[in-house]
C-alpha cells in the first residue's frame, strides 16, 4: 500500500493510454488531409473571393485557359474555374450526407438484426440481400430515374444503395461482440438488452463502419458525379462536376471544360480514400502492415 501511494504517478503515466498508431508518418495520409482541407476551405470561404459568379456569362465562349480564366470558359461563356470550385458546394455535402444517412440507417437496422435475431434479422437481412443483388450504379440509376432527376432524388437513391453495406457490416460485428464474456457479465448485473446494445455492444462494433465510411466517401463522390453525368443528378445550370463533364464532353478540342471538374473529382475521391486508409491503419488493431 505504502509503496503504491508513494509512487502512483509513475504507474499511471507510464501506461500507454491507447492503441492509436500515429497516422502522420505516411505521405498519402498527409496528402489526403491537405487536399481535403483545401476543398473544405474552398467550400466555406468561396463566396468571398471567387473571381466570378458560377452562373454569369463572362467574356467569350469556349476560351482557352488564361490568367483571366484559369480553366477557360464553357459554351455559355461561364468561367470554368469558378464553376469547378462551386461544384464542391454540391458534391461534398451530398456525399457526406449520403454516408451519414447510410451509416445511421445501416447501424440501426444492422445492430437490431444482429443483436435480437429472429424475424427482425430475417426481414432486415433479406432486404439487404435483395438490395445488394443489384449492381450499385444500376440500382441508383433506376431509383433516381423513378424519382425523377434532381440532386435531392439522387441523394435518396444513393442512400438506398448504400445502407445495406453498413447493415451487413454492423450485424456481423454485433454478432461477434454479443457472445463475448463481458456481455454476459453485463447481463448478470441486470442491465436491459437495450442498454447492453447501446453501451456494451455498439461501441465495440462501430470501428469498421467508421473506416468503411471514410473509404466509401470517395465512391459516393464518384457516384454523385456519375448520376449527374447521366442526367439523373443535378440539373444543367447548376455547377455540379458530373453535369459539367457532360457539357464538356461535347467539345473535344476545348478539353478544359471537362478536365477541370474531372480533376476536382479525382482529387476529392483520392484524398478521401487516402484518409480512409490512414484511419484504418490507425484504428484497426488487426490490420498490421
Amino acid at each position: 500500500m505504502s509503496l503504491l501511494s508513494t509512487a502512483p504517478r509513475l504507474l499511471v503515466d507510464v501506461a500507454p493510454r491507447s492503441t492509436w498508431k500515429s497516422p502522420w508518418k505516411r505521405v498519402t495520409v498527409i496528402a489526403g488531409m491537405t487536399v481535403t482541407s483545401f476543398w473544405l476551405v474552398v467550400l466555406i470561404t468561396l463566396s468571398w473571393w471567387a473571381p466570378y459568379k458560377p452562373l454569369d456569362a463572362v467574356g467569350g465562349r469556349l476560351q482557352a485557359p488564361s490568367w483571366h480564366h484559369l480553366f477557360g470558359t464553357d459554351a455559355l461563356s461561364r468561367d470554368v474555374f469558378t464553376r469547378t470550385l462551386y461544384g464542391a458546394r454540391q458534391t461534398l455535402p451530398v456525399s457526406v450526407g449520403v454516408i451519414v444517412c447510410a451509416v445511421t440507417i445501416g447501424t440501426v437496422l444492422g445492430s437490431l438484426a444482429g443483436f435480437f435475431g429472429g424475424w427482425i434479422e430475417s426481414v432486415v437481412m433479406r432486404l439487404v440481400d435483395v438490395t445488394l443483388a443489384f449492381p450499385p450504379i444500376f440500382l441508383a440509376m433506376a431509383v433516381a430515374a423513378a424519382l425523377g432527376p434532381g440532386l435531392q432524388n439522387a441523394f435518396f437513391a444513393m442512400v438506398i444503395v448504400w445502407w445495406p453495406i453498413y447493415a451487413r457490416l454492423i450485424r456481423g460485428q454485433v454478432q461477434a461482440v454479443k457472445h463475448r464474456d463481458h456481455i454476459q457479465a453485463a447481463v448478470s448485473i441486470g442491465a436491459t438488452r437495450w442498454r447492453i446494445l447501446r453501451k456494451h455492444v455498439l461501441p465495440l462494433s462501430f470501428t469498421p463502419a467508421l473506416i468503411n465510411a471514410t473509404l466509401d466517401l470517395g465512391q459516393v463522390v464518384i457516384l454523385t458525379a456519375t448520376l449527374s453525368f447521366l442526367g439523373l443528378g443535378a440539373k444543367p445550370p447548376s455547377p455540379e462536376w458530373g453535369a459539367m463533364i457532360t457539357d464538356g464532353a461535347q467539345f473535344f478540342y476545348q478539353w478544359w471544360v471537362a478536365v477541370a471538374p474531372g480533376i476536382a473529382i479525382l482529387t476529392v475521391a483520392m484524398s478521401f480514400n487516402f484518409l480512409g486508409d490512414g484511419l484504418r491503419d490507425a484504428l484497426d488493431v488487426r490490420a498490421k502492415r
Partner: protein, 333 residues
C-alpha cells in the same frame, strides 16, 4: 453456520438443464438440489462438464437460447425459473451478484472501470452519474483496490488479472446483494493472487453477511472458504454436507477419489491416486449410477439402478454401496 430455523435464501429443487445440440440433446444437469442459507458459503465442486456452471447460469436465467431449464429455483420466496425478464433483471446484480471465471474477458474493454462499476449502480438505483461514480470508487476501496481514487479511471487492459477480478467483485457487490455466485473466481489467477481474492471473499462475507455460492473444481479453495460442500458428478449431486464431514468422512466413492487425488502437505508420504476413466457424455441418460463405470466399489446393482440421494450421518449421499459399508464397518477410509 447454516441456520435451519429460517427459510433458505436460495433453494434449488430438482433442477434439470438440457442443451439442444446438433443431434439430440445433452442433459447437463439432472435433478440438482441445492440449499443456501443467509450468510452461508456453499461450494459446488465437480470436474468440467459436471453441470455446476450450467446450474448457476440457469438460476439467473443466463443460459443461451439452446438450453432449457426445468424444476424450481426459489430465491427468498420468488420463483426464478420462468420469471418475467423485469423480475430477473432486478434480481440479477441487485440481490444476486455474479462473478465469472475469467476476469480478463469479463470486463468491457472500452469503458473505464469507474464507469463500468457505475453502470451496475445506475442499473438498479435512481442516482445521478456523478453519485454512481463516487459510489464506484467507494466500492473499489471496499475490495481493496490499490490506490482506488487515482486508478478508478484505468481501462481494463491496464490492470492485472487480480485487479480485474477485484473490479468484477466490486461490480457484483455494487447493490449489496444477498448472494454472490462466484463461478470459478480464482481459476484464471495465479496462486498468490488466488489467495488474495479468497481472503477478500472471506472478509466480505463476514462484514456484510453475504451468502456465497462458490463454483470450483479446486478443493483447496473449498476447504478454505466453504461451510457446506456439494459434490456434483454428471449433472447430479453425488454427495453434499458440511465441509468438515465431506473432507474427513467422505461417503461417496467419487468424493473419496477426489480427496485421494489431492496432494496433502501434512502427509507427504501418501501416494496420489487418480480416478481412472472419464466422466460420461450426457448425450443419453446413463444406465444406473453414472459413476459406476469408474467406481472400484461398484457392484452389479450399481449398473442398473441410479441410487437416490439419502441422508448418511450429516451428509446426503447418492451411493448404494459405500455408506452401507461404512455404517456397518464403522470405519472411515
Amino acid at each position: 453456520m447454516s441456520d435451519l430455523t429460517t427459510p433458505p435464501l436460495l433453494e434449488i429443487r430438482d433442477l434439470h438443464v438440457r442443451f439442444a445440440v446438433r443431434n439430440g440433446q445433452v442433459h447437463a444437469v439432472r435433478g440438482l438440489d441445492l440449499t443456501v442459507h443467509r450468510g452461508e458459503v456453499a461450494a459446488v465442486v465437480g470436474e468440467s462438464g459436471s453441470g455446476k456452471s450450467a446450474s448457476m447460469l440457469a438460476t439467473l436465467g443466463l443460459l443461451d437460447i439452446n438450453a432449457s431449464a426445468s424444476g424450481s429455483v426459489r430465491f427468498d420466496g420468488t420463483e426464478l425459473l420462468g420469471a418475467p425478464p423485469p423480475v430477473l433483471r432486478s434480481i440479477r446484480g441487485g440481490r444476486i451478484g455474479m462473478i465469472f471465471q475469467d476476469p480478463m474477458t469479463s470486463l468491457n474493454p472500452v469503458l473505464d472501470i469507474r464507469r463500468q462499476i457505475a453502470e451496475a449502480v445506475i442499473t438498479h438505483r435512481q442516482v445521478s452519474p456523478r453519485q454512481a461514480e463516487s459510489k464506484a470508487v467507494e466500492l473499489l476501496e471496499m475490495v481493496s483496490f490499490p490506490d482506488a481514487v487515482r486508478r478508478a479511471r484505468s481501462y481494463p487492459h491496464e490492470l492485472s488479472g487480480g485487479m480485474r477480478q477485484r473490479v468484477m467483485i466490486a461490480m457484483a457487490l455494487a447493490n449489496d446483494p444477498d448472494i454472490l455466485i462466484a463461478d470459478e473466481p480464482t481459476t484464471a489467477l495465479d496462486v498468490t493472487v488466488q489467495a488474495q481474492i479468497l481472503d477478500l471473499l472471506r472478509s466480505l462475507r463476514q462484514s456484510r453477511e453475504l451468502a456465497i455460492v462458490l463454483i470450483t473444481h479446486d478443493l483447496g479453495v473449498v476447504a478454505g472458504l466453504a461451510d457446506t460442500v456439494n459434490v456434483m458428478y454428471a449433472g447430479r449431486i453425488a454427495e453434499s454436507g458440511p465441509v468438515v464431514d465431506i473432507f474427513h468422512r467422505p461417503q461417496h466413492p467419487y468424493t473419496i477419489g477426489l480427496l485421494a487425488s489431492l496432494p496433502r502437505l501434512d502427509r507427504p508420504d501418501r501416494e496420489l491416486t487418480p480416478i481412472g476413466g472419464v466422466p460420461p457424455r450426457l448425450y443419453e441418460e446413463p444406465e444406473g449410477c453414472s459413476f459406476a463405470p469408474r467406481c472400484r466399489y461398484a457392484v452389479e446393482a450399481c449398473h442398473e439402478v441410479e441410487p437416490p440421494l439419502e441422508r448418511v450421518e450429516a451428509s446426503m449421499v447418492a451411493c448404494s454401496v459405500l455408506p452401507m459399508r461404512s455404517r456397518t464397518a464403522e470405519g472411515s477410509l
